[in-house]
């Protein structure tokens, strides 16, 4: 902190009783304290204290997981904003969507940010999966985390799909009519699943409300839960794996 323009203020804050009651370690000036910064913070402790320098290189992971998670945070923030104006009822849902587009200050910006963020999240998740596949990072000991990742992809796609109905325009209505009719074609369980999902036989107000609850509560909670396991397992399985090392003997298959 000696290099900063306000060393005294920094020192005064860090030595105050209030600050020390929240952050128990001192300045990050020793290896021990630098480790404690990570250990003692709920949000940072997901991350290891030390990582290999090469894993931070762009071409190691192309940062695709980070892109996907960043899109998710943008979606949570903009989604909460949209919820302040949106009623999941017929025909108010369509009017609210129009109001967000044409009346609310910056409404069109946040609505479009939510939409483009959703596209980016799906694209990021798919590219992340491709990257992991071609780097052979799905192999033991990471095979379970691959499965968790597939679940995360499914939850992401379901979030994308349930959000599709909410504007309650023609595209949404027919998109969900067609999609739930595809689900109905599954043997035995198909028709009851469609009935429970829509809360009826046709895409109606019940369906809008159910998709809203799935989109805003159930699926995001599921996503955050699986995401916690996913990131934790990256650490426990030995950190991110980038491109596989070339074999020492070129004759041997890696």
């Amino acid at each position: 902190m000696n290099g900063t323009p306000f060393p005294r203020i920094g020192l005064w804050v860090r030595e105050s009783a209030l600050y020390r009651s929240i952050v128990r370690h001192g300045a990050a000036d020793t290896n021990r304290n630098r480790s404690l910064v990570i250990f003692e913070n709920l949000f940072l402790h997901m991350h290891p204290v030390k990582v290999r320098e090469k894993t931070l290189k762009f071409t190691h992971t192309y940062w695709l997981g980070a892109v996907t998670i960043s899109a998710m945070f943008v979606l949570i923030a903009t989604g909460i904003l949209l919820m302040f104006y949106y009623h999941p009822s017929v025909p108010q849902a369509y009017r609210d969507m129009k109001e967000l587009k044409f009346v609310v200050d910056n409404g069109v910006f946040y609505r479009n940010l939510h939409r483009w963020g959703a596209h980016l999240m799906v694209l990021g998740a798919l590219l992340h999966m491709v990257r992991v596949f071609y780097h052979r990072a799905y192999r033991p000991p990471r095979q379970f985390n691959w499965v968790v990742g597939v679940v995360l992809l499914l939850v992401t796609l379901l979030l994308s799909y349930t959000g599709y109905l909410l504007p309650w325009d023609q595209l949404a209505f027919w998109g969900v009519s067609v999609g739930t009719n595809m689900a109905k074609e599954a043997p035995i369980l198909g028709p009851p699943i469609r009935f429970l999902l829509l809360g009826g036989n046709i895409v109606s107000e019940n369906a809008l409300l159910r998709f809203y609850v799935l989109h805003c509560v159930l699926l995001p909670v599921a996503l955050l839960g699986f995401l916690g396991v996913h990131i934790w397992r990256v650490r426990k399985d030995g950190g991110v794996q980038g491109p596989p090392e070339p074999p020492a003997d070129p004759e041997v298959e890696p």
């Binding site: 009519s177 067609v178 595809m182 009935f195 429970l196 009826g200 036989n201 046709i202 109606s204 019940n206």
Partner: protein, 164 residues
Amino acid sequence: MREADEGMAMPPGPNDASRREFLAQVGLGACALTIAGAALTVLDFMEPKVLFEPPTEFKAGNIQDFPEGTVRFDEEHRAYIIGGQGGVFALSAVCTHLGCITRYHADEGAIACPCHGSRFDVDGNVVHGPAPRALPWIEVKADAEGNLMVDTSVVIPHGKVLKV
């Protein structure tokens, strides 16, 4: 003496262990039953008992209004009422592919779906895919004056025309 002592003190034996296991299993079973009960009640709760969906039965005018060759599209009830040879019949207008609403094109004498391009003739037969099945024939009834009632929820055999 030694035998009597053993009998009174009841040292831990194989019976005690199995009692503990039994109680543990009863406890686990109770938990499993509770979870299963909760799951069933939630599943039951999610199934709506009353639906405010449009009625499937509707009036469709008089049989006199449907001379041979008439095709009337009822948009609200998603059905065609058609004057056929010697009588009247009705077709569901919901595409058998993925549930979009088809339209009758009088100039081509064909029923077509806007979503994925399925085509049907006026008897409901598939002319062009991807629809896997013919449009279902639905029940038409007439009272003594010839007033028609159509029920989209009752599927009748293909070709069963209501005779005039």
